[in-house]
Amino acid sequence: MAIIVDKDIPTIVQGITGANASLHTRFMLQYGTKIVGGVTPGKSGQNVEGIPVYDTVQDCLAQHPEANVSSVWAPPRFAKDAILEAIEAGIKSIIVITERIPVHDMLYARHVAKSKGVMIIGGNTPGIISPGKALVGMLPKIAFQPGRIGTVARSGAVTYYIANSLNLADLGESTSVGLGGDPILGTNFEEILNLFDKDSETDAVVMAGEIGGVYEELAAPFISTMSKPVVAYITGKAAPQGKRLGHAGAIIEGSMGTAASKIDALEKNGAIIAETLSQIPALVKKALGGAR
């Protein structure tokens, strides 16, 4: 069984009638994700790609009580409310696609989620894919193929390029998790590394971080306790100070959050550092003893 999402896990889509959400609902369905319902307030009675739309998560779960994963596509100012709605209705894993959610909103939603044992992935995550099984989010299926490498990255495109590199070297992914590019994340590297370390379908992990925040540094000590090799790729070495680079979280503030400090912490704790994307597959293979 894959981590977090899988073929048989019933899933809902919050904000399903939006242009992006409805397009990716089609892609997710094509991929085999078991989407049972969608939610957009005021749009009940419609359907998107054959999936019924409800006004509230509560109404949706009344019809589909088995659903326990949701992806959230609501605009930033409504994201907190959508997450709280999913938590209150009993959803256990919430994949937050929405980007640039206000920091205080995410702190609050995260606090409620943690107190109720709910997992939030993101905000600003491209989603999660277990190749061949399920896709929740907007990752392009072409980038992924089934395999035994777990990947976790802050950035969407970097996730795709890593998988792309692995695939070109005949490796594949057990699960690829987009951690999200927002400054406050529902789930951090350590939590995902822990899931991969326990996952019988994963042999090694590639993690990709970037400047800003401390999530990479925080995960470093855990890596030294892991049974599986971790290849780490950190971007932003060439980034200027004090300027936010696209992702709300990607900013070097003072001496905090530089690529160097992250690489240093990871390397010290046994992670194998990749300098470029194309180095990654070779380093993974080497770490696995060339067995694969």
């Binding site: 242009a19 992006n20 930033p76 100012r77 696609i97 980007e99 640039r100 959610i101 206000p102 920091v103 205080h104 909103d105 702190l107 609050y108 995260r110 606090h111 491209p126 907007m138 990752l139 392009p140 072409i142 980038a143 990255a153 802050r154 950035s155 969407g156 495109a157 795709y160 390029y161 792309n164 590199s165 070109l168 400054p183 406050i184 970037e210 400047i211 925040g213 401390v214 925080l218 971007t235 932003g236 070495k237 060439a238 980034a239 200027p240 100070q241 004090g242 300027k243 936010r244 680079l245 696209g246 992702h247 709300a248 990607a250 503030e253 690529a259 300098e275 470029t276 994307l277 194309s278």
Partner: protein, 394 residues
């Protein structure tokens, strides 16, 4: 988004947090100086530290002296920023200096109030020299700071008697500002106690969450608008901001036209790694419109410094067909002469490729310098080719 000291103090004043009387002046508003009572402190408005050493904080005992010193400051460069405003503030007689801040604690994921009796120093410096002199108080996200909590902190700061109430009041107000304006940091350093028991925020540092500005229209009344976290925008950055494009000018010659932000950061690294020099950082955001893609290309191709474009689209929420459509339209309309080496893969890739091929077939000449690789070409290959193209353009 960091506020200037005078902006932060404006916010404080609006919320009954005591600051010394002051005026903000630039070269056109020196007449405002009649409003302050001398002696005054003159502080250049810039974000970088070390203002004191750079001569950007000075004292004056009368107007003539103030004007002279202000003239010496305006126009000065400090850490890449040109001083164009100074804060002229009544000098107060300080008895004690305290430190007070409310911040988002990234480890605990909670608001944290930090207080210390060692005001005036950097909090990092206090932490290094006297870690025990720092009081930390955590709150749950969204929780109220009850009056008694503020009194507990004030008491921890060594305040008693009437100062206990003034201190608690200031702590409550600072937390109100932190919550009410979505601050990442709201700091008073130093918070000073003057003769007679009056208390002032002598310096003010406020860092707002740019992503929450939409719910604070009242900031506009204070003249506070979105900008860089630190420093001023370049002309091109201003244009990009207008168009809603995260864009940062760098000093190289390769225009970077990536998909998302994360790969934008990676692309800069990779270009440097292979010996090239990126001209910019840029992010399309998720699912950019035709309009936005067009503006992105303009930003790069209109930049005289740019010699070649490196482009990449890995279609996730952003679709390859939209991307291809925008590239074709731009090229047909603007006939750029610079080489564009790109790679396109992901969602709607097939449709995108058809659009590009058809355009090339119709205008082979126009597209002669434009290459679009696919899934099976490693991105590093594309970058290396762009670097070579830029060098050839010299």
């Amino acid at each position: 988004m960091r506020l200037y000291e005078y902006e932060a103090k404006g916010l404080f004043r609006r919320h009954m947090l005591p600051v010394p009387n002051s005026v903000v002046v630039d070269e056109n508003s020196l007449c405002e100086l009649y409003k302050v009572i001398y002696p005054v402190v003159i502080k250049a408005q810039t974000f970088a530290g070390g203002r004191g050493k750079a001569g950007l904080v000075q004292f004056a005992t009368q107007r003539g002296e103030a004007e002279e010193k202000i003239a010496g400051m305006l126009g000065k460069k400090h850490a890449g920023h040109t001083v164009d405003k100074v804060l002229v503030e009544a000098k107060v007689s300080v008895e004690r200096e305290l430190y007070l801040a409310v911040v988002v604690d990234r480890l605990e994921h909670r608001p944290m109030i930090i207080a210390s009796q060692r005001g005036g120093m950097d909090i990092e410096e206090i932490a290094r020299k006297e870690p025990d002199a720092i009081l930390k108080y955590y709150l749950n996200p969204g929780a109220d700071l009850h009056a008694f909590m503020a009194r507990n902190i004030a008491s921890g700061l060594g305040l008693s008697g009437v100062l206990l109430a003034s201190g608690a009041h200031i702590i409550n107000k600072l937390y109100d500002i932190f919550r009410g304006y979505d601050c990442k940091v709201a700091e008073i350093n130093p918070l000073v106690i003057c003769g007679g028991g009056t208390v002032y925020a002598l310096d003010a540092k406020v860092d707002l969450d740019e992503d929450a500005m939409f719910r604070h229209p009242q900031l506009r009344e204070l003249g506070i608008v979105a900008r860089h976290e630190v420093g001023e925008l370049t002309e091109r950055e201003k244009i990009a901001k207008q168009a809603g494009i995260p864009y940062v000018d760098l000093d190289g010659d390769i225009g970077v036209f990536p998909g998302g932000a994360g790969f934008g950061i990676a692309a800069i690294d990779l270009i440097q790694h292979y010996g090239g020099r990126p001209a910019n950082f840029m992010d399309s955001g998720g699912a950019p419109t035709q309009e936005k893609l067009r503006a992105m290309l303009s930003l790069l191709l209109d930049n005289p410094r740019v010699k070649a474009i490196f482009g990449a689209r890995f279609g996730g929420i952003s679709r390859c067909d939209d991307w291809a459509k925008a590239v074709v339209k731009y090229v047909v309309e603007n006939r750029p002469q610079k080489p564009m080496i790109m790679r396109m893969a992901g969602n709607m890739e097939e449709q995108g490729r058809k659009i590009l091929e058809q355009a090339k077939a119709e205008n082979p000449e126009l597209f002669s310098k434009i290459k679009v690789y696919a899934y099976d070409t490693p991105i590093e290959h594309v970058i290396e080719e762009t670097i070579r193209a830029a060098q050839t353009q010299d």
